[in-house]
């Protein structure tokens, strides 16, 4: 019996290591392809040499873009895993409790309010959008969470209902801003809402990397907490977790991850929803630590491929990445739902 358990554990470990290495190799290949190909195909020599236009393109445009894409993909996937684990709901997504709509509402308000300022510098505009999106995401998350507090505890059912109400409110706000916007602002809003990595820079990559690092410190106990929640809140209490503190930390981390990602590249759907589901097929649902690691890598891989497709499909023009992720993510998600190949046990 003990030999059999040890053997199963050994096989699982080998499977995890194989999957982990495979995902890393795939991510590396995807990154190389994304660096080399695009509207302009860079030569291999251009990737290595220290001067020339290829090198300039690589260092100033492609590399920061690919880095940002990977980090945003990882952020969104991580937020999806935490949210689904916390709400014990496989359909949970940062958008569900209004974080994405909050980020969008605040960003659109910023775009509209500053549209009368003709000479706003590019950096100020970018910083403004970043701060607005993050504030919107965090504020809405806190508001939704506060509404869900009942007798000192956060009630998941009320949280989801509050999320629906807040989403509707943000939707109305976005509609109102769109209605008030002039033709030019309306066009800016439309394109921001489709998402794009065109303005990615090293500073955006560093900012997102720092956010992920801070969140990983904040969430160092969260995988175990989420594992224990699979059995029930009572079990989590027995293990010594302070439920309120752990939930607060998790929601703050989700707001940070989603807010920063949305701030830099606009709202990108389906990564947070689909990636954890796909990774559960590989790593199962019993270890959130593994699920978080695998989802982060797979989120980075999926978004790198999506951005590569966005750059290549209509070159020299670019297709908004939100369209690509929705076109790929939605049918795949429907395929998963219809096949019912695995039982959702969150």
């Amino acid at each position: 019996m003990s030999d059999s358990i040890a053997n199963t554990f050994y096989v699982n470990q080998r499977k995890y290591i194989f999957s982990f290495v495979s995902l890393l190799v795939l991510l590396f290949i995807a990154a190389i392809i994304a660096l080399k190909f695009g509207a302009i195909t860079l030569s291999w020599q251009g990737l290595i040499q220290n001067s020339g236009i290829d090198r300039q393109l690589l260092m100033e445009l492609r590399l920061p873009r690919v880095m940002t894409t990977m980090l945003v993909g990882a952020s969104l996937a991580l937020s999806g895993v935490i949210m689904q684990g916390l709400f014990r709901n496989p359909m949970a997504d940062p958008a569900l409790i209004g974080m994405s709509s909050g980020a969008s509402l605040f960003t659109l308000a910023f775009i509209l309010l500053t549209s009368h300022l003709s000479a706003l510098p590019f950096w100020a505009n970018n910083a403004g959008i970043t701060i607005s999106a993050f504030s919107g995401s965090l504020l809405i998350a806190v508001l939704t969470y506060s509404l869900s507090i009942y007798r000192g505890n956060s009630n998941i059912a009320i949280l989801l209902l509050a999320g629906i109400a807040i989403n509707a409110l943000c939707g109305a706000g976005i509609g109102l801003l769109t209605y008030l916007a002039s033709d030019d602002v309306l066009r800016s809003i439309t394109f921001w809402s489709m998402g794009s990595f065109a303005n990615a820079s090293y500073s955006s990559a560093i900012f997102i990397l720092t956010t992920i690092f801070l969140c990983s410190i904040l969430l160092r106990k969260t995988p175990l907490f989420l594992d224990s929640l699979l059995i029930g809140e009572g079990y989590a209490r027995i293990l010594g977790f302070n439920l309120a503190t752990e939930k607060h930390k998790a929601i703050l981390a989700i707001a940070l991850l989603v807010g920063i990602a949305t701030a830099f590249v606009g709202p990108i759907g389906f990564i947070g929803l689909v990636v954890p589901h796909i990774m559960r097929l590989i790593v199962g649902n019993h270890s959130h630590r593994n699920l978080l690691i695998f989802s982060a890598i797979y989120g980075a891989l999926l978004l790198t491929i999506a951005d590569f497709l966005a750059r290549i499909i209509a070159k020299p023009a670019e297709v908004p990445i939100g369209i690509i992720t929705a076109l790929v993510g939605a049918p795949y998600f429907m395929f998963l739902l219809f096949r019912k190949r695995y039982k959702v046990r969150v």
């Binding site: 695009g38 509207a39 302009i40 236009i53 300039q56 393109l57 100033e60 445009l61 492609r62 590019f122 209605y179 008030l180 916007a181 002039s182 033709d183 030019d184 309306l186 066009r187 800016s188 394109f191 794009s196 065109a198 303005n199 750059r311 209509a314 070159k315 020299p316 023009a317 670019e318 908004p320």
Partner: protein
């Protein structure tokens, strides 16, 4: 001997100076051969200057004017730096509302010359843009002639407007058979109405959807409908025609492209609007 050496040296320097002058002159006179043109008015001016053969990439809105060998760089509000650079341009001419504007600015880092046209505030902005584009394309003479032609057409048309005939106009943009927007202040429609000495009856900023009841409540003297697709039937046809008949309101239909017509066709567009609204020849 010394004198002859000096003569040789002077002669050599003169030849060298002449060669430098020739090179400099050639450098300034050389016409850009790989031009990216962004925006309908920019492309209209390029067409007016007969310089389309220099163009290698244009935005989605203007692509229909060009052969298939010209690349589509996408929507003018979402241009990509890498996409533009992939065409290896030596000049990029863009309208002031091209975005992100930083993309146009960054082209300079890659040794691509850029020209951005002025925002249209007065008719003079149109004439300045013609000269700006003509100079950038190395065709100042043609630009000067085109500017004069457009100026004569536009001012000639404005002179035809009878005095004391200001009317209230409702300008509608029809984007689908049943989807109509009223064009308010700070729109191109508003600019055109002011230019042809008409009053925009709509006072809100930008464009807003308009219902059947909405236009009846406004009581305009003229309703102008700019259609995105000429095949569209008149919006709210029955109500609009009944209302027009009852209140003797003039209904004018136009191609929506006229709203962006600040290029080489500016004079023709002015004349067209004046003729339609004031019934003059």
């Amino acid at each position: 001997m010394r004198h002859s050496n000096q003569s040789i040296l002077t002669g050599f320097l003169t030849i060298k100076l002449f060669a430098i002058c020739l090179l400099v002159f050639h450098g300034f006179a050389v016409e850009p051969q790989r031009v990216i043109a962004i925006g309908p008015s920019v492309n209209s001016i390029i067409k007016g200057l007969n310089a389309q053969n220099q163009v290698i990439g244009v935005d989605t809105q203007s692509i229909s004017q060009y052969p298939k060998t010209v690349s589509n760089i996408g929507y003018m509000r979402a241009v990509s730096l890498e996409g533009l650079l992939s065409l290896k341009p030596d000049l990029c001419i863009a309208t002031n509302d091209t975005s992100p504007h930083k993309v146009i600015e960054d082209l300079g880092k890659y040794k691509v010359k850029t020209v951005t046209t002025s925002k249209i505030t007065t008719p003079d902005s149109v004439y300045q843009n013609i000269m700006l584009i003509g100079n950038a394309l190395g065709n100042s003479e043609a630009a000067y002639q085109l500017k004069n032609k457009v100026m004569i057409e536009a001012t000639g048309a404005i002179k035809l407007i009878p005095p004391h005939t200001r009317q209230k106009v409702l300008f509608l943009l029809q984007i689908s058979p049943d989807n109509v927007f009223a064009l308010g202040t700070n729109t191109h429609a508003d600019w055109w109405l002011k230019f042809i000495q008409m009053d925009n009856i709509v006072k809100f900023n930008g464009m807003r959807p308009l219902s059947k009841e909405g236009f009846m409540a406004l009581t305009p003297d003229v309703i102008m409908v700019a259609k995105v697709n000429s095949q569209f039937q008149l919006p709210y046809k029955v109500e609009l025609e009944t209302y027009a008949k009852k209140h003797k309101v003039q209904i004018i239909t136009l191609n929506s492209q006229i709203l962006d017509g600040f290029g080489a066709d500016f004079g023709e567009n002015t004349a067209l609007l004046v003729r339609q609204v004031y019934h003059v020849r």
